[in-house]
């Protein structure tokens, strides 16, 4: 197999070896169901609670406020449906943004069919939510605001603290999907004034299939998975023990890494090199997302006059993994709702390309992209009627 250059780290990341090591005993030796009353189970349960403490510390929450889930999608579903169903006596209005992840958008669209009313807030050209529109759209019957911390496609960081204040002043619950923020920027639920916050393990060097939802103490919420008395009756189902242990370890490592300027600087430097290199070598490229308020591993560009799909396939032939728009399960690309919400025309959004780096990304990998990409783009443009038209 060709050497893989993985630049799709907003989709998932390589598990940190230390995380993997921490999990292995719980896949093999310590297999007891943590609900058991015997000591063998208690040993497992103890580790789950330790992991919960690590997750809580990572978010500056208390352990009681952390519920383990199967990942970002479940956390989002739990937060939104849980709040909606528990608070529908108060009202049926929910506010969100137009650039949320589908785990939020489609959950809300489902609720819309159930009789809830959803406001989808517009964003500016950088993807920042319109705060005035948010203030104006809050009503007496508004029960929830759900706005993501950092956007998965373009990396823009939303003014979560400000939104949290607005929510609190209006006595409305506030949920943020922090799946793309976790491990990339510091998260402090107290400072941010959020009531609910979703994270997912595999986005920051943890395992797939595990996530968590922070639920502030006192928040009125209903479970969405019913069954046994797991997770304090909030989320039924035998615990994904190894996943939970792995998530705990991943949070611990992420906390250290966030303080490690060497790791931070390296990632930023490589992303900047990639961005600068592309802009220098390829004409007619737009960089999407906010110039500063952006997670530092994400570079989303639109290469005018070509289709993102064709570039992705060419990069794939070279062993470079990147993405464009949002891929559905069958792997076909839908035009990105995020780029369209920024006001980009359809044909430009079609030529979008996202590179997302990890702490493992090496300079030679970025060099390889800068070596391959300009030629691939030129070839496609030579075949593109729009490019020819433009040159005449």
């Amino acid at each position: 197999m060709k050497k893989i250059i993985y630049l799709d780290n907003n989709a998932t990341t390589r598990i940190d070896k230390r995380v993997l090591q921490s999990m292995l005993p719980y896949l093999e030796e310590y297999y007891a169901n943590p609900s058991g009353i015997y000591y063998f189970a208690q040993e497992v349960k103890k580790e789950i609670e330790k992991a919960r403490e690590k997750v809580a510390k990572f978010l500056n929450a208390t352990p009681f406020e952390i519920i383990f889930t199967s990942g970002g999608t479940e956390s989002d579903n739990f937060a939104i449906k849980g709040i909606a169903f528990a608070n529908r006596e108060k009202g049926k209005h929910i506010i969100t943004s137009s650039i949320e992840h589908h785990a939020v958008l489609n959950t809300l669209k489902y609720l819309e069919k159930q009789g809830f009313e959803i406001t989808f807030l517009p964003v500016d050209k950088y993807g920042i939510v319109d705060i005035d529109a948010l203030k104006e759209s809050i009503r007496k019957d508004t029960i929830l605001i759900s706005i993501m911390y950092a956007n998965n496609e373009i990396g823009t960081i939303e003014p979560i603290k400000e939104i949290g204040e607005i929510a609190r002043n209006n006595n409305v619950y506030f949920h943020t999907d922090a799946v793309q923020a976790a491990g990339k920027i510091k998260i402090d639920v107290k400072e941010l004034n959020v009531d609910l916050l979703s994270i997912s393990g595999h986005k920051f060097y943890g395992p797939k299939g595990i996530g968590a939802l922070f639920i502030r103490k006192g928040v009125k919420i209903e479970p969405v998975l019913h069954g046994g008395h797991h997770e304090r009756n909030q989320r039924a189902g035998t615990e994904n023990v190894a996943g939970i242990i792995g998530l705990g370890r991943a949070c611990e490592i992420a906390e250290e890494d966030l303080k490690n300027t060497e790791i931070k600087n390296k990632k930023k430097k490589l992303k900047d090199k990639l961005e600068k290199g592309i802009l220098e070598k390829i004409p007619e490229v737009i960089v999407n997302g906010h110039p500063e308020k952006r997670i530092d591993n994400t570079l989303n560009i639109c290469i005018k006059y070509i289709e993102g799909e064709s570039i992705l396939i060419q990069l794939d032939f070279e062993g470079i993994c990147a993405s464009s728009g949002s891929a559905c399960t069958s792997g076909s690309l839908e035009p990105s709702h995020v780029l369209l919400a920024l006001g980009l025309p359809h044909e430009i959004a079609h030529g979008s390309l996202r590179f997302s780096l990890s702490k493992y990304t090496e300079e030679e990998e970025i060099d390889k992209v800068l070596e391959v990409l300009p030629g691939a783009v030129q070839k496609l443009r030579n075949l593109s009627p729009f490019w020819k038209e433009k040159k005449i």
């Binding site: 794939d316 399960t329 496609l380 075949l383």
Partner: protein, 348 residues
């Protein structure tokens, strides 16, 4: 190693075609085109996943391209417009020309590949350095009619691995390899839902009230009936569903869209030995004023002997040796020399 891009639908034909190419030693990459929403018979999640699994099994790369917008513009809009204009469209012909082969060819160039392939039953024939399209070995299944609009500059890059196989042979290969074989394969238009008529399909896209109500006349100009549904519910040569009982059965003779009129007649009146065709593509006899050809006026028609006359302008006249039943405006007339396609045009 020469490189081939194959269009894969997830069906048995393209599956076996991909398998054969790989066996012949080509480097093969599969592409599935997502053309329409998942409610229709083609391009649904299952079919795409099936195509993907086939590629896993054969050991080739696979990509899905989203062409929903282009398909809507080029095929669906044309399909609807033709019916509304009182014509009978052939969406497969248009899709092959404007979508499938166009996109595969484009990807071939973009990705530096050498050939494109599909699981169609058809053959590429080289005559004196010119490339022609011709019937496949399986004469019952052969599909060159649907591909007749492809130009020579594309034909020379096409491989049809099933050209020399019968459907039965293809099924046997699939069986032996453990590929999925559906119990029944649909031959109908792919974007219609199960048992959905074109009329019901169009109803979902246009303001149907505008078109409702039409009158049925006989050739003597007598009004026989008024019906509630639109004229494009009918096609030329149709017998069932006219709803006029007694005596000799009536057939749809003509559709006059702008007057919302259907003319019906006895069967014999539908036999005609003359028609005009337009949007001509000629791959041979370009400079001849008159030539002979066998002409197929619809997919399931047996090509009939005819004389082709070039008149002024962009049209051709076709004079059949024997009268043909239900020559239908909108359908593609394909001109053959033996089994080889030498041209085509849409019936006026």
């Amino acid at each position: 190693m020469k490189k081939v891009i194959i269009g894969l639908s997830g069906g048995v034909d393209s599956t076996v075609a991909a398998f054969l190419l790989k066996k012949q030693g080509y480097e093969v990459t599969g592409i599935t085109l997502k053309l329409w929403d998942e409610a229709s018979r083609c391009c649904n999640f299952e079919e795409i996943m099936r195509a993907k699994k086939v590629c896993f099994k054969i050991g080739i790369k696979h990509y899905v391209l989203n062409l929903k917008n282009k398909f809507k513009k080029e095929v669906i809009d044309y399909f609807i417009k033709d019916y509304i204009d009182g014509l009978t469209p052939n969406p497969c012909v248009i899709c092959n020309e404007k979508i499938k082969f166009y996109v595969l060819f484009k990807k071939m160039k973009e990705l530096n590949y050498d050939y494109i392939a599909t699981g169609h039953y058809a053959k590429i024939k080289k005559v004196k350095n010119k490339f022609f399209l011709s019937a496949a070995k399986d004469k019952k299944k052969t599909q060159e009619y649907f591909l007749a609009r492809l130009d020579e500059d594309i034909l020379k890059y096409i491989k049809f691995p099933l050209a020399d196989f019968t459907k039965e042979e293809v099924k046997k290969i699939a069986e032996k390899q453990g590929f999925f074989i559906p119990e029944k394969e649909s031959q109908e238009i792919c974007f219609l839902k199960d048992k959905e008529s074109p009329y019901k399909f169009i109803e979902r896209f246009v303001d149907i009230e505008k078109y409702k109500g039409c009158s049925i006349y006989n050739l003597q100009g007598e009004k026989l009936k008024e019906i509630e549904e639109p004229y494009f519910k009918f096609t030329i040569g149709q017998r069932k569903g006219i709803g006029i009982g007694g005596g000799t059965p009536f057939y749809v003779f003509k559709i006059i869209a702008n007057e919302k009129k259907i003319l019906v007649s006895e069967e014999k009146m539908l036999y005609n030995n003359f028609c005009k065709i337009k949007n001509i593509k000629l791959f041979k006899n370009k400079n001849k004023k008159v030539f002979r050809a066998n002409v197929k006026i619809r997919y399931l028609h047996k090509a009939a002997e005819a004389k082709i006359l070039k008149r002024k302008g962009q049209e051709l006249e076709i004079k059949f040796k024997k009268p043909q039943f239900a020559i239908t405006p909108g359908q593609l007339a394909v001109l053959y020399e033996n089994n080889t396609v030498i041209g085509s045009g849409f019936i006026n």
